[in-house]
Amino acid sequence: MTSQYDVVIVGAGGGGMSGALAAASKGADVVVVDAADKVGGTFAYSAGLVWVANNHFMADAGFEDSAAEAIEHISSLSGGRHDDALLSTFVHRSPEVIRWLTEEMDVPFELLGTYPDYYSDHVGGRAGGRHLSTAMFAPQDSLPAEWQDRLTASPHFAGVPASWKEIQEWGGLASMPSWDWNEMARRMVADCRGMGSATAGFLLAACLKRGVEFRLQSSAQRFIVEDGRVVGVVVAAADGTATELRATRGVLLATGGFDSNDEMKAAIDPYARTHGIGSPNVDGSGLVMALEIGAAFNALGGQLTTPTFAIPGEEADGRQLYRSAVREPAFPGGIVVDRSGKRFCDESFYRSLCHEMESFDVRSQSYPHEDAWLVFDQQWKDSYSLGPINPGEVPPWMSRGATPAELALDLGVAGDALNRTISDYNTHALKGEDPEFGRGSTAYGRNSGDRTMTPNPCVRPLEGQLYAVKLHLGSSGSNSGLVFDDHGRVQHVRGGAINGLYVTGNAAANLVEGLWYNSGLSNAKALTFGYVAVEHMLAER
């Protein structure tokens, strides 16, 4: 069976739907296929933040910004691994795409004014204004009945139907007791979505309104190549029936990375023991299809990692759920230690924590910080949530000890060392200081901490009863991926573009930013290059 379209898009996440909207709004006939039975992909699993420098909301809100400063910021922090043309395209086009989505496609992005860049103190950085997210999405109001259960819900935010703007207004993640839980319960009953699922919902509604065709539970098998040009995709339906979807203008690959494929991670990543926390369908199959026809691949070093913890017996997508713990290590009254009982990083900056956890020490030929625990005291326990665990609540699986030695015994770490670590830390923490690793020394770290804690929102001595949870590295995306140009065209391993094949999202290597990262970047790149790629394929003759 064969079907003909102008544009075929593989992957119904944010990047795929942005491309589909670009196609449909220009009158092209477009189909989106996805192996999943729901729409949203990695985007819907995410927190939904979108990082766009010099976006159109900033000027109205009094933030100054420019493309030149954003480019200087990223290029000076990329470790020399970014591509100038891709960076320039992203920085210049992303504000335009966000404005188009907001004003013409009814995807209501809003500004998170006080959310700082990770490296806001660095040249070209900003203490706020570059992060956007969407308002709440109500499937029952905005989607046709047959689509209302086709929108992916993130297990990470299943119990938090709120928007980022609301969370910021309610005092941030360290102030969960003051959130409006009754309103969220009402939204839960109405299946209202927040964060990445909300944005995916708005994108889906816009796509359906403009006649985009979706083929779900349709797994892409291989590209159809004729005369060196990609002219379509063979997809298999759930019953195994194969269909050729032919594209006169181009194929956009938006299948994500390989974060849920342990075999590929073991083959490619320097540190392979990460747990996929995004869609289980992000298994690298799209990358394999591209590699089969000679696509160039850039191994940019592992996964986009996040500290996580596991609640025994809690599952999503048929596997253990690893819950994000990006902010919790930044809360005052807690530290992170490894098996030696010592601290090893600035815990208020999760990238630093992840980097150290996955670092390999050639002296000992080991990963010395791989086994890591978030250790916190009674006041921390009484004040903050740990994922869905309420303040004050101590589940039986949570390690505890009346003294550092007692806790160390429970964890299997060096007792004397843990005692010394806490004692040394407390000496300076009394003054709100952490001279060893600089907790709370960045605007991002302070934003992650408890804003009611002075002088340092991330630092307070640990006192009394202690608790601990083991941390694991979760992966929400892949840094490595396909090489592409500033039109989104996939490059051949021998150079030049593979005609007809485009890429967006995590299927593409992190060539825009190299070794730099900021929350919301992956989503912003997906939306931007989805649009840019389709624009190019429709313009090309």
């Binding site: 299943a158 959130w179 839960m188 809690e314 599952e315 997508d317 949530s385 869905p388 609540e393």
Partner: protein, 195 residues
């Protein structure tokens, strides 16, 4: 507090129903998400249940204590979450006279209609049971059960909103399986006593 009330008439004697339900080993595996249970003594047991709450599945351990044990009539129990901050209780009742206030057969009334009735009776101050009368007869015995579960703490309202639909489904499922099994065991008993 999320609460479910379920009533049904079964073509079996009161004795037969009691004989079956008094031993929790008989029906424990019929509880939706049942993983295991461990009987500490004749009044105290530990239950492990895996609940599907939307996109999440959570394994929860409950401490269950029998608070009332009236043979052929009723069993009441309390629930206390071991791994989660939630508690509640319930009862299992045999016979029309023992029907709980508000009891109505879930299996006989559609969701929307039932919700409408509930709202109306709540507004008017009357009890829902008046919408349907369950009777014991020579051929049939009514049974019912109630279950309430309440998640506390800061996230309680959201968790309660998540578990309420789950409890309805679990009640429907348990009642259907219980009925089928009581009837099946009744049939087996009949066959065994046949000449």
């Amino acid at each position: 507090m999320p609460e479910v009330v379920y009533s049904k008439s079964v073509p079996a004697s009161r004795e037969r129903i009691w004989e079956y339900v008094k031993d929790m080993d008989n029906w424990a595996p019929f509880i939706m998400g049942y993983q295991s249970h461990e009987q500490k003594d004749d009044r105290h047991s530990i239950w492990t249940v895996k609940g599907e709450m939307g996109v999440l599945a959570r394994t929860v351990v409950f401490d269950v204590k029998i608070t009332e044990w009236l043979p052929l009539q009723r069993v009441s129990f309390s629930l206390e979450g071991v791994t989660e901050k939630c508690d509640g209780g319930g009862s299992f009742l045999i016979g029309a006279k023992e029907q709980p206030i508000g009891a109505v057969s879930r299996s006989r009334r559609g969701g929307r209609f039932r919700a409408l009735l509930r709202r109306w009776f709540r507004r008017s101050g009357r009890e829902e049971a008046s919408a349907e009368t369950l009777v014991d007869s020579a051929d049939e015995t009514a049974f019912s059960f109630t279950l309430s579960l309440h998640a506390g703490g800061m996230t309680g309202p959201v968790v309660n909103a998540m578990i309420e639909p789950l409890m309805g489904k679990a009640a429907d499922d348990l009642a259907e399986k219980l009925t089928a099994e009581i009837l099946r065991s009744d049939g087996d008993a009949g066959e065994r006593t046949a000449p």
